[in-house]
Symmetry: C2
Subunit: 151 residues, 2 copies
């Protein structure tokens, strides 16, 4: 548009900049995704938790918080929101009464399996105009990025 972005300032080594470029790209895309997210959509964390419970069955708060690398209070808040909407229910763990297990409701399971919640029209539009090769690169990178994030 109006941007001299193609200019490179001082032939930098791409490898040195790999981390910086990735960080910048992820930061920018995240902000865009956050802002373009449609009304009434579940937050990313909430959605991830719901999907996880749907796929792997009931889990405790500590398990969920460890998996997502968030603190217990953060995860408490997230599951409270899911519970408030009616997508999950709490039940005491019969084996260990300190624990609380979270289980998707019928509605929660339906949402998680429909894939409806996962969609983001804004992003889908952007991806649609890429070449198949470019989409392949992004598919591969998504796996790598997720592995990095989970490590």
């Amino acid at each position: 548009m109006d941007d001299p972005v193609t200019t490179h300032s001082g032939g930098v080594d791409p490898d040195t900049d790999l981390g910086a470029n990735l960080r910048s790209a992820v930061g920018r895309l995240h902000r865009r995704l956050f802002n373009e997210r449609p009304e009434g959509t579940l937050r990313d964390t909430a959605l991830a938790v719901l999907t996880r419970l749907h796929k792997y069955g009931p889990q405790s708060l500590t398990e969920l918080s460890r998996h997502d690398h968030v603190t217990l209070p953060s995860m408490t808040r997230t599951v409270n929101q899911l519970a408030a909407i009616g997508y999950v229910v709490r039940s005491p763990d019969p084996q260990d009464r300190r624990k609380v297990l979270f289980t998707p409701t019928a509605e929660g399971n339906q949402l998680a399996s429909s894939g409806r919640a996962q969609r983001n029209a804004w992003l889908d539009d952007k991806l649609a105009v890429l070449t198949p090769e470019e989409r392949e690169v992004i598919a591969h990178a998504s796996i790598l990025l997720r592995r990095i994030a989970d490590a």
Copy 2:
């Protein structure tokens, strides 16, 4: 570690899931980057602004906010922080006295050109253990992701 993540639930079409997978990966990685960020480090937005001013010269608040897809108040806050640290200075635009131009100080230019600020040890460690081919995929994807975010 302890995760049955390799299991796939119901052979889903990868193309259909491309957006969902990318969104999930970006969300998770962003949270990790945000949390692992070392003390006293500039925020991503502030860093991006400083780098941009360094590369392309003085710009107004509106130009900066449009480029980063943030509101004027958000950008005001960001440049105020940069100014408070002493990395940029404000100066009135001689042509249009409504505008304020932001210019990096010597310190700001030094930081922007050193690449020091851009580094993230946590991320660099993760990238270092990838294969060259995987790093190539990420390098390519970073460009695509940035293009998507900027579109």
